[in-house]
Structure formats: C-alpha cells, structure tokens
C-alpha cells in the first residue's frame, strides 16, 4: 500500500527558474547594489559572489488584511496573574498580542526589517555588472603559448599499445574476416554433407563414392580450421590524441601616479577602476596577468599592496612609467601572444617638458601593441598639458580612450562608457 521512492538524485534546483524570475524582476535594484559593492573588492577577487540588498517594500506581495484598531478578542495560554475584569496596560504592539493580521513577520535581529538581502553567485554578479559591455577591438590571438593538453578519444586505429586493444572491435573484425575467408568453403561443405546424407539414405551406398566424399569433407574442414581465429590486422586499438588546450591570455598594466599630489582618496577611485577592468577581462580571458607600475619621477614595478598603499613624494614624469611598461611588454608579453590592456590613472600632473615625450611614446611604440589603452584623469581641477596631449591622440588612435572622473560615483558610468558595445554606442 505504500512505496518508497528515493528522490535524492533528482535535480535539486527546481527553484532556479523562480530565482531567476526574482532577479529579473528586481534587476534595477540588484544592479545598483552590485555596482555599489565593487568598491569593497580586491582587484583580483573574482571568485566570490556578492551580497545584494533590496528594499523590502519593492518585494511586498500585498493582500487585503485587517489593520490596527477595532475590537479584538484573543485567547492566550498560561494565565498566572489575571482575574476576570482586570484592566491591563496595552502591551507594546507586536509583542504578546499575538496579532499577526498580515503585517508580515517581525524580523529577527540581524537584517533590518525594511531590507531584503541575499547572495548572488559570481556569474550572476558579473553578468549584472557587465551587461551590455564588450571588449573593444577583440581579436583572436595566436595561441602559441600552449599550456596543457587534453587527452581525448579519437576513434580507433589499427596500431597501438596492447593495453589499448578494443576487444569488441577486434573480435568483430576477426569474425568478419573469418566469415569472408571461409564462406565459399562452407558452402561447398554443406553441398558435400548433403550428398553424404543422401547416399546414406540409399539402401546400398557406393562405398567408394562415400569415401571420396568423406575425404573431401575432411580436407575442406581442415582448410576452414586453418583460417586463424584472430589475425594481426583484426586488432583495433582505442585511439587517443593530445588535443591542445588553446588559452587566450591577457595582460593588464595598471599605471598610476603616486606622486605627492595623489592622495589616498584619489587612489581608491583608481583602484575601483582597475577592479572593474580586471573583472571585465576575467570574463573574456582564461588567463590574465596584472602588472602594477607606479611612478613619480621614476617608475617601478610593484605588487598590489604597495601599488595602492604606499605613499611617495616628488614630481611627476609620466613617460618613465610608459617606458617601463613598454620594456616589460616587449620582454615578457609579446603582442603576438598576449592581449595587452593598460589603464592609467593620474591626477593630470606632469612635468610639462615630459608631455610631448609621452605623446610620442604612446603613438609610436606603445599603442601599436595594445588592445586598448584607457586613461582616466581623477581631478576636480582644470586639465593640464597631459590631458591635451592625450586628447589629440584619441582622434587618430581608435584603441586609445581618455575619460575624466571627478568623484567616486563617476567610475562605474565612465567604465560603462568606455566599454559600451560598439553597436549600442
């Protein structure tokens, strides 16, 4: 009358459609929440999802319900002190009264009652963050730097190692060969055997004829038996090949001015821009390397922490960083194998005599090797010579873009503007 069913192996993500619906419906808020969250991430942290917060009122499912007020009679358990006719101060709303006429459940401590927060996965996070964006000038690079191979089955072969023998295939071939080689002999054999049995049915079989026939039969049988059961060329081997695993790779240069005029707030803005760029690249490339170059009057390659958090003083010579980047790129990241991206952040200060040099470096040696070079200027002051020089470049160089950022809130819009799909631009 009862039967047990083990459902544990059935899919467990029955609700994923509904979850997607939920995200779809609240996309605007979730997107907002996602772009706010960019701030708190490390540049290369792309493994985790993100916590998203949505105001609860946007999620309410209203229904007609009774409000406060009127006359209510309630029965409660555990009377320890009351007598009939007692008049008691009204307990604070929500407590004790046990009146849950649809005002939603009171939230436990922890999340606020007016917010609904939940985790989205990494993929959902990135999808939302970079919706409608694409990498400019995307080009298939030659995959000369092959990192690993996959061993994959590739049909069958007639040569191979004994441990790869495919028994079924080999025996099938052996059987086919035996059928083919012995077919005519077996046909003859059947005829002879028929004649023998015909003779035997006669009352007086001719002994000589019978002998002759039996002789022939023996010879035929021997011939048939001589066809080998298995032959070298029956053997079939499972064939494996090494398939190269093509990997597209990118290198991202982060250039930043760390001279005295760059304060921590400005650097934080720059950091956010780098995070976005890194996340974005990581969606398109399997392998990304990040090179941090900071500079004042001299440039230096550093690690992430030093890049963002150490303070230097002194003047600014941008070309030093450009030169260093060019050297590193030429040495370690040949443009034939690597997709090279660079993002430069600065407050616009530069030693005026250096600016023409920067222009020249970019135009002649750097930009030809670049997928995309974006320059952001984080300043609230007027532009200086560097901006003007760069601005001239944008007219002739499609892989070069500059944007001006005044405050934190500008970052995401500027980033989106830089990478908006060509078609939607």
């Amino acid at each position: 009358m009862a039967h047990f069913i083990d459902r544990r192996l059935n899919g467990k993500n029955k609700s994923s459609v509904n979850r997607q619906r939920f995200i779809r419906r609240n996309k605007a808020q979730i997107k907002q929440s996602v772009s706010d969250a960019v701030t708190d991430r490390s540049v290369t942290d792309v493994e985790t999802g993100e916590r998203v917060i949505i105001p609860k009122r946007d999620l309410s499912e209203p229904f007609f319900h009774q409000g406060e007020g009127g006359i209510r009679e309630r029965v409660h358990p555990g009377n320890d002190q009351f007598q009939q006719g007692d008049k008691v101060d009204r307990p604070p709303a929500g407590g004790g009264a046990g009146d849950n006429a649809g005002d939603g459940e009171a939230s436990d401590s922890g999340d606020g009652a007016d917010e609904f927060s939940f985790e989205i996965s990494r993929d959902e996070y990135l999808d939302l963050l970079f919706e409608d964006l694409e990498l400019p000038n995307l080009e298939q690079k030659e995959t000369s730097k092959i990192e690993d191979y996959n061993v994959v089955r590739a049909g069958y072969s007639s040569v191979g190692l004994p441990n790869n023998i495919n028994i079924i295939r080999s025996l099938r071939k052996s059987q086919a060969r035996r059928i083919a080689l012995t077919g005519s002999k077996r046909r003859e054999l059947r005829v002879l055997e028929q004649r023998v049995s015909d003779l035997m049915n006669h009352h007086a079989p001719n002994p000589a004829e019978l002998n002759q026939l039996n002789n022939d039969i023996d010879i035929l049988k021997k011939k048939i038996a001589k066809v080998p059961f298995i032959d070298d060329f029956d053997l079939q081997f499972n064939n494996y090949i090494h398939q190269p695993n093509p990997s597209s790779q990118a290198v991202m240069f982060c250039l930043m001015d760390v001279s005295g005029s760059m304060d921590q707030a400005t650097k934080d803005i720059a950091k956010r821009f780098y995070i976005l760029l890194y996340l974005f690249l990581s969606r398109n490339y399997n392998k990304i390397e990040v090179v941090y170059i900071r500079h004042h009057t001299q440039a230096k390659e550093v690690d992430e922490h030093e890049f963002f958090y150490s303070q230097e003083t002194g003047g600014t010579i941008v070309s030093s960083a450009l030169k260093l980047m060019h050297d590193i790129q030429q040495k370690r990241y040949p443009a034939g194998q690597w997709n090279v991206y660079a993002a430069q952040a600065s407050d616009g200060d530069n030693w005026t005599d250096d600016t023409p040099l920067c222009h020249q470096l970019l135009e002649h040696s750097i930009l030809p090797n670049m997928r995309y070079f974006s320059y952001i200027e984080i300043t609230t002051r007027a532009h200086q010579s560097l901006w003007d020089a760069y601005d001239k470049l944008t007219a002739t160089q499609p892989t070069f873009a500059i944007k001006h950022i005044k405050e934190i809130a500008d970052i995401y819009p500027v980033f989106r503007e830089l990478f908006t799909k060509q078609s939607t631009r």
């Binding site: 509904n18 007609f64 029965v75 009939q84």
Partner: protein, 501 residues
C-alpha cells in the same frame, strides 16, 4: 516482552529498515481503523526540501518570482541556522505524497511516517472539508496542466504580461474562494477539453454582458437593475467571468490561481485539527509500538524529545510566545477527548453527556470527519483543558487605553473562553469581508466593492496597492466603500485615485 520482534533502533536509516518500520506502523494504524489513501513516500535532500517549501509544498508549480523570493528566504534562514526545515511535507493527493528528509534519524523517519502518512493522510481522506472541497485524485494532474498552460502563455504573451497578471491574482487569492458552492470533480483530459470550450463560451457571455449597443427597455428607467444582483464574495471568480477586457488566456490564468486557492482553503480552516490529529496519531502509534515491544527505550526517548518540542506551548508572557501553537492545542484536545471517553469525571459527564464514557476511537473518528477548527473547538474544548492550559480571554478595544481580561479559567469563564477561542479560528473573522457590490453595466463599467468591518476593525494599509491590482485585472475604475454596522457608507479609496470625489 517479545524481543524477537524488536526492530533495529540504530539511528541510521536504510530503505530496508524504513520498510519494516512502515509495516509495523501500518499494522497499528489499521488496528486503529485509520482509513488512508495509498502512501507514496519520497526521500529527499534538504535542498529539495527548500524547493518544496518555496512552492507551497506542491511537487509541481508554475514559475513566479514570489516563489524565488520564498526560496531565497528559506535558503538563507536555513544556512544561517535561524530556522530548521520541517521534518516532512505531506500533500493532499491520491496517492498521498509525503516527503521525508534524508537527514532524519530512523526514529524521526518513523515519527514522520506515523504523523504524515497515517495522521495527515487519514485526515485528508476523511474530513468533510477536504472531501467536499478538494479532489485528491486530480490535484497533481491539475498542477501539471497549470504549469504547462502558464508556461505556454509566457511563450505566447511574454513573461512580463503573465507575471503582472499573476501578481494581481496572487494578491486577490484569498478572495478567490467559494465558501458555499461545491466545485465539480474533473480529470485532466476533461480539463483540457473544457478549457477550450470554456474560452469560447466565456468570451461570448462577456460580450453579451457588455454589448455596446444600448438595449432600450421600455419605460422603466426608474427601477435601475443592480449587477451583480447579489454581492459577490468570490472576487476572482467574478472577474474571470465578467471582466470586459480580459483575453481568454487571462481568464484561464485567473481560474488557475482561483482553483489552487480553493484547494488550500480547507487546510487554512483545519490547522489545529489537522496537526492535532496527526500529532495524536504519531504519539499513539509509536507508543503502541513500544507497548508491543517493537521498539525500545532508546527509540522512545528520542521520539519523546522531538514530540515535546512539537507540542510545546509557551505562556503568553514568554519571549518566544507567538500565539497558540496549533500542534499543542490540537494534540491536547484529541488526548482530552480520549480521556473523556475512557475516564470521564462528573464534570465531563455534565459538559459532554453524549461522549463521556463512549468508545473513544469512534468518537475521535467522528470528530475528525465532521468538524473544522472553529466548530471543533466550540464542540470539544473541555473545562479541564482550559484549566490545564490556563487560558484567558482578553478584549482589546482601540477606543480605550487598556485591555480588559474578560474571562479566565473558572466556572463563569469556560463558555466565554471556548466561544472566543473558537472565533479566533473562524476565517471569516480573520480575513476582511470584501464583496463586489455593484458594477456599472450601462455606465463607465466601474466596479464598487464594499468592506464590512468585523468589530470595527479597519482595513490594513495595503488597500491602495490592492486597488491597483484590482484595477489592472478589471480594467476600469475601482471604488472601495466601507459599510459599518449602522449602515453608513464611506468611500475608502478609488483607483485611479485622481477621480477621488
């Protein structure tokens, strides 16, 4: 005791052990004449349990964002440890589907089998509300039909359009039940056939009602005909049948939501009884297992631990008090009825002359079949139980600054407490009474609804949003009036609100 029958009480379960426990439980259930649908017991993981949670426990459901929201909430609550998952979910269907979580120990599985597969199952099969209002044979088929229909609608008309309609329907779900008319049973084949006929027929009816050419009725302009002739309580039904602008598929979607709402309506009215009944039976069956020597002390101690958690009733002044625990009240009442039958006191003989000393099993089965929470409490709540639970009744009138304790567990209070507790489970007191009062057939097609406050309790603050939902399905102006006890009519809200007078 017969040690040979003793079942393995190691706490890990296996399918073999489940079978043997089930066989014993079934045996005892039959001894107690529990009449059930066949059981289909499914073992699921906690993730799957969360899926089941978010689709209101149904195995199949159409897609909607609100289920996604529910799922996310459940998942979070569970992962943070704020909330445990139920040990089981049981579906009122034939065969009766029960979900058991794989994390449960063997004792828990036995408890759940007794509770869900024999307790709830027999309640579903026998209680009059379930037998008249729901159709266990066809519900799964109907859900399959609904899911398919709605996903087809999404393909044809876009997710957005379907979602908006479902939002409005869900909002009005509580007002989509027939309380008096009996729905007819129908199989999935008929359902599919009839769905298309209905589409055409309905549309023609609606067209008839909203014929634009005015029909001249000779002379009598004075007697204005009222439509609907009687106020309508089933708002979704009325809209499905009469809304002028809805497309056939939209009517069908409304119908689906209405049907599902109707299916759940009995469960809302029998929470105390249903849980009490199931709890009573797991308690009785497992104790009988122990008496028969089939399980030992180890099993019983674990079982009693869970059982006491389930029937725990915090007092009114405790922090974790959130109203009366239906498991506790229901269980106590069924135990009490058994006591009244088996060991009646003089008080019981005075209060319950017809059941005191009668056959307890028959009395219990009678109670299971013929009552809902409200009537069950007003019929069977005994003075002893009122004393045991120390029930007291409080009146909270917003006009005065205090709350009044009007009865406590003493001789003068018993009847009042019983009456008040019963009322507390009367859905028509808990859900606002809103009816369609008038529709301007000849005029601007506006719809007027009336709210009849119960004990001058006003409507909650969702009214404005609700009118928007109504407006979106009806398609024309909506007006909500309140008619209080002295017959005074007051307009609460209109949608669109700009036409406010």
């Amino acid at each position: 005791m017969n040690k040979a029958n003793r079942l393995d009480d190691c706490s890990d379960w296996t399918f073999d052990k489940l079978e043997s426990y089930h066989a014993q439980i079934k045996n005892i259930a039959q001894r107690y004449k529990l009449d059930t649908y066949p059981n289909q017991i499914e073992i699921i993981t906690s993730e799957q349990m969360m899926d089941a949670y978010s689709s209101v426990g149904m195995p199949i459901g159409y897609s909607h964002w609100s289920y996604g929201k529910k799922f996310i909430q459940t998942q979070q609550g569970y992962h943070r440890g704020q909330m445990g998952l139920a040990y089981e979910i049981v579906i009122n269907s034939n065969p009766c589907i029960a979900y058991l979580m794989e994390e449960n120990s063997m004792t828990m599985q036995a408890l759940v089998i007794a509770h869900a597969c024999y307790g709830h199952n027999s309640f579903f099969k026998n209680n009059y509300l379930f037998t008249t209002w729901t159709d266990a044979d066809s519900i799964i088929d109907y859900l399959v039909f609904a899911k398919k229909f709605i996903s087809e609608c999404e393909e044809k008309h876009g997710i957005e359009a379907v979602e908006n309609l479902l939002d409005s329907c869900h909002a009005l779900m509580n007002l989509g039940v027939d309380r008096y008319k009996r729905p007819t049973k129908i199989s999935i084949h008929d359902e599919l056939m009839r769905q298309q006929e209905r589409e055409e027929y309905l549309q023609s009816q609606v067209n008839d009602l909203w014929r634009t050419v005015p029909q001249k009725t000779e002379g009598d302009t004075s007697t204005k005909t009222h439509f609907p002739s009687e106020p309508q309580e089933n708002i979704l039904y009325f809209i499905e049948k009469n809304a002028p602008l809805l497309l056939p598929w939209q009517r069908e979607v409304i119908r689906i939501v209405r049907k599902i709402s109707q299916y759940f309506y009995p469960q809302k009215q029998t929470q105390v009884m249903n849980e009490g009944w199931a709890t009573f039976w797991h308690y009785t069956i497992l104790n009988t297992l122990y008496d028969d020597g089939v399980v030992g002390e180890k099993f019983m101690l674990e079982f009693l631990h869970h059982h006491t958690n389930v029937v725990h009733q915090p007092a009114y002044n405790r922090k974790n008090y959130s109203g009366i625990n239906p498991y506790a009240l229901g269980f106590a009442m069924f135990i009490d009825i058994r006591r009244i039958c088996e060991e009646p006191t003089d008080e019981d003989r005075y209060w319950f002359p017809d059941i005191a000393g009668s056959d307890w099993l028959e009395t219990l089965h009678f109670a299971c079949k013929n009552f809902k929470d409200e009537s069950f409490i007003s019929q069977y709540l005994s003075p002893k139980l009122i004393r045991d639970m120390k029930l007291f009744s409080v009146t909270d009138d917003s006009e005065v600054s205090y709350v009044l304790v009007d009865s406590i567990h003493n001789e003068v209070g018993y009847r009042a407490i019983r009456e008040n507790l019963a009322k507390q489970y009367n859905l028509s007191n808990l859900e606002p009474n809103i009816q369609i009062y008038d529709v301007q057939v000849d005029g601007d097609r506006s719809m007027t609804l009336r709210y009849y406050p119960h004990q001058s309790i006003p409507l909650g603050d969702s009214t404005e949003q609700m009118l928007k939902h109504l407006h979106s399905v009806w398609g024309f102006d909506i007006k909500l009036e309140q008619r209080d006890d002295n017959g005074e009519i007051e307009t609460l809200a209109t949608c669109p609100s700009s036409t406010k007078r």
